[in-house]
């Protein structure tokens, strides 16, 4: 009997503990911001317990609709079909824009090209262009790297650049921004696309339609392939969720956004 009471008490404590845990899930683009922000926030608020995981924007939004996470990270806006699904389940999803991002096109540093047009990028991703010299580049085999279809970055790229045309079948599909940056850094003929925060010295970011992706061009809508980054909550946030969102949109959170390579709103 005592054992039973002990087990019930332990289960009760565990339930209490899990009730206080805030789960963030979704976009791998937003992931580094969410992870850093959660770390700093938990240091400042020792009672808060935040768990952050990736999976992609679609996964995060599906999870918040199903009630398996508290905050959905998304690198694209929610779709009408997802809104309707949420509405049918009685979940009023509220969007919080936390940063802006420019989808940066990256090449291997040895590639002398400094920029491409959106039409050229579309051509590279949807047709059989085999060599960079076909579009005025070096005599080098083209290796196309893309995100998989669960990715919000892919959806934004597909809509803004490919006009939703299918990516060529020989493209190498990657599940994360880091994966793309890593392959491009090792492959002389590669082209990939990542969030601004993943542009490092090991790859070369190029101008698109003559505009380099940076804070100014993204915030002022000059860079064509820019997008907002979101966190979605169910209704107006309360308690620690509200504190965390406020923190992220405040000066400290926006500093983290900038440090992670994205464009802060402040």
């Amino acid at each position: 009997m005592k054992k039973l009471i002990t087990i019930v008490m332990l289960l009760g404590l565990a339930a209490q503990a899990s009730a206080g845990k805030i789960v963030l899930e979704g976009s791998t683009t937003v992931l580094p911001i969410a992870q850093r922000a959660a770390e700093v926030f938990m240091k400042q608020n020792p009672d808060a317990d935040l768990s952050v995981r990736g999976g992609g924007s679609g996964v995060g939004i599906a999870s918040i609709i199903d009630g398996t996470c508290d905050i959905a990270d998304a690198s694209r806006a929610i779709k009408p079909a997802e809104l309707e699904k949420a509405s049918k389940k009685g979940r009023d999803l509220k969007a919080h824009i936390i940063a802006m991002d420019g989808i940066s096109h990256i090449l291997h540093p040895s590639n002398p090209l400094k920029g491409l047009t959106r039409a050229q990028i579309k051509q590279l991703y949807t047709t059989r262009v085999k060599n960079w010299k076909e579009i005025g580049g070096p005599d080098l085999k083209v290796v196309v790297i893309s995100r998989d279809s669960a990715s919000g970055t892919f959806e934004a790229f597909s809509e803004l650049v490919l006009d939703k045309k299918k990516v060529r079948p020989d493209a190498i599909m990657q599940a994360s921004n880091q994966g793309i940056a890593s392959i491009v850094a090792r492959t002389p003929g590669a082209i990939g696309y990542v969030g601004l925060g993943y542009v490092t010295d090991s790859v070369k970011a190029i101008a698109v339609d003559g505009v380099m992706p940076d804070k100014n061009s993204v915030l002022r809508n000059k860079y064509a392939i820019s997008r907002p980054l979101f966190m979605y909550t169910v209704g107006a946030p309360q308690g620690d969720i509200k504190k965390f969102i406020d923190f992220l949109k405040g000066p400290e959170g926006q500093k983290i956004v900038s440090e992670e390579g994205f464009v802060g709103l402040k």
Partner: protein, 426 residues
């Protein structure tokens, strides 16, 4: 102005004029220029407003509108035509102004079932024409029920349709079926992706041809059309091929079906009849194929490119053959042709030239169904068709269509037909 007040003002602005997103952008840009707000705040307002409006629309739709109204699509087109006929069997050439109006609606009744209907103009119940000719001292013109159907989507790969429907067969030309002919009956459509390169499909069904309370043997047609589609890895070449098998029942030894070519207009009724009844059953097999190539480095045609602004970016070949299965005499037909220009003409300056050559023997096919512009829709005909489609604006194109046709055998003479169409889609 406080940020919150500004946000409220902008929300009010956007709610009042949801269609004017561009004006919201302009307003925000001006506010940024005047340092009233910073670019980050402008983005926050812009995106936040879009999200709120989207959510409101979604919630209102979910809360208030039934599924059929949420999913209803209304479409239509208008065609204005000048037509010149030079039929050498008639004493005079003919100039006519004509129009066609079509209006379609379809909607989801539930998650699995679609319904649709369409109205079309037309001077009679002739299934092969929706044209109305200007004349009759400005008399008002009629509108007919063109189609009405219900479609059950059993899965992503299988759809079943009943009613009066658009022709469910995949066709490369109108040699056998005028594009205005709608079928009354049942049909099934199957499509199965095999891999990135290959898909397979099949169409099958039943079409009622006539109904008589005094004759228990109503004529009907069964059809099946298996086929494949293929595309290469580079998005350059693709191909579609299928073979239709037609089984006509209660046609042989029955009276002629309605809506055959008009002899008073200088055309012929060529199917073989014995004592006023069909001699053959017209069961047939009809393979067809279409090959397409996108030209990745579009070819410049100096005059055309400078005039229209578009290079040649597409070319295609198509062909269809028919063999009537129950007899050997005059039982074949074929059409072969090519297309060049742009794959689709959807915008200003885009163009496509299509040429075809055809020959359809007198008992290859029933003369109730072929293209009514090709020698009045008769069989026992051969000839050419050249069609130039030119985009004038988005969804606004002109067609210049020329036919030179003549009977394969018999005493009738040739016909030249020219049509200039203005097509508007909405």
């Amino acid at each position: 102005m406080k940020f919150t007040q500004l946000m409220l003002a902008v929300l009010f602005f956007s709610a009042a004029m949801p269609a004017r997103a561009g004006e919201l952008d302009l307003l925000l840009d001006r506010l940024v220029e005047k340092n009233v707000i910073d670019p980050g705040e402008a983005q926050e307002i812009r995106v936040g407003t879009q999200e709120e409006v989207k959510k409101e629309i979604s919630q209102q739709r979910h809360a208030t509108l039934p599924l059929w109204l949420q999913t209803m699509k209304l479409r239509g087109d208008v065609r204005l035509r000048y037509q010149f006929n030079d039929n050498h069997n008639k004493a005079l050439t003919q100039h006519r102004g004509r129009f066609r109006l079509r209006f379609f609606a379809d909607a989801k009744v539930n998650e699995k079932v679609y319904m649709g209907f369409g109205f079309a103009s037309g001077s009679s119940t002739d299934p092969r024409s929706t044209n109305q000719t200007f004349g009759d001292n400005n008399a008002k013109k009629s509108l007919w029920i063109d189609y009405v159907f219900a479609e059950y989507n059993a899965s992503d790969n299988l759809a079943l349709t009943a009613g009066r429907t658009k022709n469910p067969l995949w066709l490369t030309s109108d040699m056998l079926w005028d594009t205005d002919v709608n079928m009354e009956g049942l049909s099934a459509r199957v499509s199965l992706p095999v891999n990135y390169n290959w898909d397979i499909f099949a169409n099958a069904g039943f079409m009622a041809l006539a109904e008589s309370s005094s004759d228990p043997k109503d004529p009907y047609m069964l059809f099946a059309q298996p086929g494949v589609t293929w595309r290469d890895n580079d998005g350059v070449y693709d191909m579609k091929a299928g073979a239709a098998v037609y089984a006509f029942n209660n046609i042989e030894h029955s009276s002629e079906l309605a809506h055959r070519p008009s002899t008073t207009d200088g055309y012929q009724k060529s199917n073989t009849l014995v004592s006023g009844q069909y001699k053959y059953s017209y069961d047939a097999i009809s393979p067809e194929i279409e090959l397409n190539a996108n030209i990745l480095e579009p070819v410049s045609l100096p005059l055309v490119t400078s005039l229209l602004g578009y290079n040649v970016s597409y070319t295609g070949l198509f062909g269809n053959y028919i063999k009537s299965l129950d007899h050997g005499k005059n039982s074949e037909g074929w059409i072969a042709g090519f297309k060049v220009g742009q794959r689709k003409v959807e915008d200003a300056g885009q163009w496509q030239l299509r040429y075809s050559l055809r020959r359809l023997q007198k008992d290859a096919w029933l003369d109730n169904y072929p293209d009514s512009d090709f020698y009045g829709g008769a069989v026992n005909v051969k000839g050419h068709e050249v069609l130039l489609t030119l985009g004038l604006l988005r969804s606004f194109a002109i067609d210049l269509d020329y036919y030179q046709t003549q009977p394969i055998a018999g005493g009738l003479k040739k016909e030249k037909l020219f049509q200039a169409d203005i097509n508007l889609k909405f």
